[in-house]
Symmetry: C2
Subunit: 237 residues, 2 copies
DNA sequence: CAGTGGTCTAGACCACACG
DNA sequence: GTGTGGTCTAGACCACTGA
């Protein structure tokens, strides 16, 4: 009956995961593969989507664990707000990890994106968002140093560049143009989010504008599906 | 220095694909794997993202081909419009394939979603969108038969349920609530889109509302990344 | 150290297109 | 039939965790 190992596997894994209590550990991959009558490769492939859905968590050197209810961070796309704000609305506290602030020089491409001369100093802030120890988003903000310098980040920086700019009040922000894509995790992003290379991610590429129509900030955001719910109300043409 | 076969592979494949003319065929997988000094599994894994980006096209039993410039269908999320309309704006003609119309009975879940009694007759329209022979989107619309019957679809149905409802003018439509996700292709969807199971897709789940606030239609849409560009302007809270 | 998940290999067999 | 991409296997080795 082994005609469709994969689809059968998905069903059996679904049942197995549902039958186990939260936080419990699955059998190791070699053992589980033997029990289910498939090779380890096939088992791992089937497990992929379960992790991006937030149903299990794999930790290298430790094991694979069942996750219970995932607190889904809900956010409407009409309004731009930080993940901290979205999470706060559902009473979820998130933390920032792997915060990195870099100073770099604008090459031709970045000069074009941010509308500054080539060679201008830029500030780049990258960070990982955690909910309950789980990395769920990776964010990279790039903006002119004249707008945000490393010194600005010393005091009272919680992690969100957007929240910092809003709190400071200048320059005044009005809107962001956001492009929505689905991507495979690159090796770098996979490492930051503790997932596997090639796993599916939701990606936003956004430019933030001031009232003067200037580009204030450019950001790449990568979200683990299963932990977020983005929605939008579209009017009929 | 084969310490990072995969990352090196990505670079070499990028160069190889860029160096070949449009429509040309790549060497077969066993040959190419040997030439690049990796196993076939690794080669195929690395090729995955190239296909979802629209850079190559794999055809079972035929070969793997280089795609040139992909016409990207650009669409703003503020306004709901059919893919035909979005494609038309950039002068691209798309066609419908694998059109299937089903009649089914509302179970408890669908009754709740569409706000009809359990057991009510429903119409389901599923189809694949092609651009230049390439399946790029898979759409499934489900709605009460009282709103759209199979007879309504006999004459002048181009494929888009939305366009048909708009042309008919009743019921009057106002908006849609759309949820945005990134997913792995299921076996079924992968087959319809001629991609591999597990490949990354952008997914919209939407409910369409009438002026009376009734749910008129529920749809699942799956898009191949690389062929679409969805964007939204977000205002600052 | 032993045991876990992460990566990669070599090869088998299947499904499909085309001559 | 021949050759292609699609699936699956068995096993090796690495990277990491924790006792």
């Amino acid at each position: 009956m082994g005609h469709l190992p994969f689809q059968r596997l998905q069903v059996e894994l679904t049942n197995l995961i549902a039958s186990l209590p939260t936080e419990s550990r699955l059998p190791s991959e070699p053992v589980l593969a033997r029990e289910l009558g498939v090779s380890r490769s096939t088992l791992r492939e089937a497990m992929r989507s379960f992790e991006t859905q937030g149903l299990i968590r794999r930790k290298q050197g430790v094991g694979t664990f069942v996750i219970g209810e995932v607190p889904v961070i809900d956010s409407g796309m009409e309004v731009l707000e930080s993940i901290e704000t979205s999470a706060g609305r559902i009473g979820l506290s998130v933390s920032t990890d792997s915060l990195k602030v870099e100073r770099l020089s604008a090459d031709a491409e970045w000069a074009g994106v941010l509308d500054v001369p080539i060679g201008n100093a830029l500030t780049r802030v990258s960070r990982v968002i955690l909910t309950d120890e789980r990395p769920v988003a990776y964010l990279v903000d790039t903006l002119p140093e004249s707008i945000l310098s490393q010194e600005d980040l010393i005091t009272g920086f919680t992690g969100s560049v957007l929240d910092l700019l809003l709190r400071r009040g200048s320059p005044r922000l009005v809107s962001s143009r956001t492009e929505i894509k689905a991507v495979n995790a690159t090796a770098e992003v996979a490492h930051m989010l503790e997932i596997q290379r090639g796993d599916v991610l939701l990606n936003f590429t956004a430019s933030l504008y001031s009232t003067a129509g200037r580009v204030i900030d450019h950001s790449f955001s990568y979200f683990l599906p299963g932990y977020f719910s983005f929605h939008v109300n579209r009017r009929v043409g």
